[in-house]
Amino acid sequence: MLLSEMGAEIIKIDSPEILDVCRRLPPFADGKEGPNRCGKFALYNRGKKECQLDLKQPEALEIAKTLIKKSDIVISNFSPRAMIRLGLDYPTLKEINPTLIMVCASGYGATGPDRDALAYGTVLESYSGLSLLIGYKGGSPMGCDIPISDHLSACLSALAVIGALHHRDITGEGQYIDISEIETLIACIPEAIMEFTMNGKLYLPQGNRDDFKAPHGCYPCRGEDQWVAIAVNNDSEWKGLCLVMNKPELIENVRFRDGFLRLKNQDELDAIIASWTTGQSAMDVMIQLQKADIASGPVYNAENLYKDPQLRERGFFIAFDHPEVGKRELPGVVAKFSKTPGVIKGREPLVGEHTKLVLDELHH
């Protein structure tokens, strides 16, 4: 998807027997199931062409190889053994297309004793140490509903591919890139890793709290499941917070007047702030605190985001028209490029939508 937004033509090869898992997961448009009605599939596959090939059939495999011969890049997240079994491993493909760049992202990586363990996105957060870093104080392991390692390895795969393209521009050389999802996750938790490698200590979860900033957390607001996140960085922001809360007497209070004291007395501090936020909307709290230059923001849900004035002003959401589910709005290109804005070529493909087109093009 990321490469497509920057102009690449992407042909997605999918099996006619087992559809991409995102075509089988909710949310389905208006609650009705169907392989062309999936929000997650729409998000990750807009702008791509889809060609159905049953790669276990020799003819289909030949077609795939012909496609690969004409392509610059192959991206896969099948396990390494699956690619070998299909006859689409790098040594084989390199014979067909010597300058090919191939990136394979798998759960544990292409090598190592765990390489064949079955890996689904959220499972990997447990292996990588993340489940023991998320949680309320003193709690059991927890996870995030969003498959973080899938996302990280996707972005790092895109980065690695562009790097390889640059190398190929200069040397003519293609190559194979092996991305391990657990490694991409570990690369993003150095605080916990270094605490152990330097000091032999395990970093324990502490809810939304920070190592040295206080107050720092989520506070309840008016309405069902409404919260605002607030982080105070220094004494000057502390003063600002007290004034906004209309509690100037707290500024020099002996329990809160500097960062060290605020950290020590965080429980009491959080209770005071919660009693202030509780009657207000999260949006109002943010507006008041941002006027005082304090980092704060509502804990947004999806509906809030689609109505957020900043995202709307930036034109962040794009409407896609779809023959079966009608108009749906999705996030646009993340980066704003001043001269070459990036393009989303269109909605996601219907099942096998471009099979005929791709095959016809091959014959010319």
């Binding site: 990586g109 079955l118 447990s126 509903d145 690369a187 270094m194 490698t197």
Partner: protein
């Protein structure tokens, strides 16, 4: 060429995690990255823990040391006229600039894109801010906590909490890393275009947008189903849970019926598995409170490692819940040589996470430790820009470097 970006020149002007991680990735890919730090104080991350042996110091922050490997370090004060002049000289020979100043700050300094473009038309100027260069929130403050929670990601964390009584959670400092990675992708994409067309440009990255896209997995519930994904749901399919075993927990995700069959087989086909109550994923989810103790009676007899090995041959999506300690002991990561031992002039040999990609022809590696403050001032200012050591001393004394 030994690494993919060996001939690429990057200037970094940033603090903490977002911009430094963005340029660290480019440095890991082989680019020459010159990191500009404020004189005397340096990058704010130098004063963030964890610290080696719990003793703070400018070169003892594990976070700073990790985020700034492979970079050259110089000090420069852009609030001084000579500082901005030096910056312009550096920009003349740079391919990519990564910076995280507040919107308008670079213009104030006379270093906005149109000015830099006239000095170097092929420059890719990547500006990373919490909300972007434009819009009603452009001057708003943010950090990893607010970045995470404003994106929709907080609302669904922790997964399957079952209730909304407790507040939603952050995930370490993940939003900063996610923003940094996306900024690197955009910067490199624009650079690749520049190499083909000579066309440089300005790239505007908003952390809010980067994170909102990341949380798209949850956020698409609104346009598609007119509802919000929430952490309030309990796992309605089972087992997709943490399970206690002899030495901790495992996590299993039975996404399909055959996974459950494999699990039952792994447990030696106990009688209770045939009960009507547990016949499919939905009823197992409904009766999880009855099912969990039965499963845990088996799992608590075995270690995580034993169960993980048993699960592999059965193609069961299962994994041990590991702590950081176990990551360092992991045979998988050892065999892949993922962790790297790097020697630093002040703090000596330490172990770091390595580069998260393995290239077959141009292996990436950590070539040098994070710089000392101003470590490469002489190399860059004298060696590259032609200043004399005497001039450097004068600049130091008046606070320019």
């Amino acid at each position: 060429m030994k690494s993919p970006l060996e001939d690429v020149k990057v200037i970094e002007y940033g603090n903490l995690i977002v911009a430094p991680f963005c340029s660290k990735l480019l440095a890991d890919l082989g680019a020459e990255v010159i990191k500009i730090e404020e004189p005397i104080r340096g990058d704010i991350a130098r004063r963030r823990g964890p610290f080696l042996n719990d003793i703070p110091g400018n070169n003892r922050s594990g976070l700073f040391l990790y985020l700034n490997t492979n970079k050259l370090g110089i000090t420069l004060n852009l609030d001084k006229a000579t500082g901005t002049e030096i910056f312009k000289k550096l920009i003349k020979s740079a391919d990519i600039l990564i910076e995280d100043t507040e919107p308008g700050k670079m213009a104030e300094l006379g270093l906005d894109y149109s000015r830099l473009e006239s000095l170097n038309p092929s420059l890719v100027m990547t500006s990373i801010t919490p909300f972007g260069q434009t819009g009603p929130y452009k001057d708003y403050k943010s950090c990893d906590l607010t970045g995470w929670h404003m994106s929709g990601a907080g609302y669904v964390t922790p997964r399957n909490a079952g209730t909304v009584e407790q507040e939603p959670l952050k995930v370490v400092h993940m939003s900063d890393y996610i923003t940094g990675i996306l900024a690197a992708v955009a910067a490199l994409g624009a650079f690749q275009l520049q190499r083909h067309t000579g066309l440089g440009q300005a790239v505007d990255i908003s952390g809010f947008e980067a994170m909102t896209q990341f949380a798209g997995w949850a956020n698409v519930y609104w346009p598609y189903a007119h509802e919000n994904a929430t952490r309030a749901s309990r796992s309605w399919l089972a087992p997709q849970h943490y399970l206690k075993c002899k030495d901790g927990w495992i996590y299993v995700l039975c996404a399909e019926e055959h996974h459950w069959r494999a699990f039952v087989d792994m447990m030696g086909n106990p009688e209770w598995a045939n009960e009507e109550l547990f016949k499919d994923m939905i009823s197992r989810g409904e009766y999880w409170e009855s099912l969990q103790p039965l499963i845990e009676e088996w799992t608590s007899k075995y270690t995580r490692g034993e169960i993980f090995e048993l699960s592999k041959t059965r193609k069961l999506p299962l994994t041990p819940v590991q702590s950081v300690k176990e990551l360092l002991e992991s045979r998988q990561l050892k065999e892949r040589a993922f962790f790297a031992e790097i020697e630093h002039p002040e703090v000596g040999k330490l172990i770091y996470p390595g580069a998260p990609f393995k290239f077959s022809e141009t292996p990436c590696s950590i070539r040098r430790p994070a710089p000392l403050l101003g470590q490469h001032n002489i190399d860059i200012y004298c060696g590259k820009l032609g200043y004399t050591k005497q001039e450097l001393i004068k600049m130091y004394e008046v606070g320019i470097i």
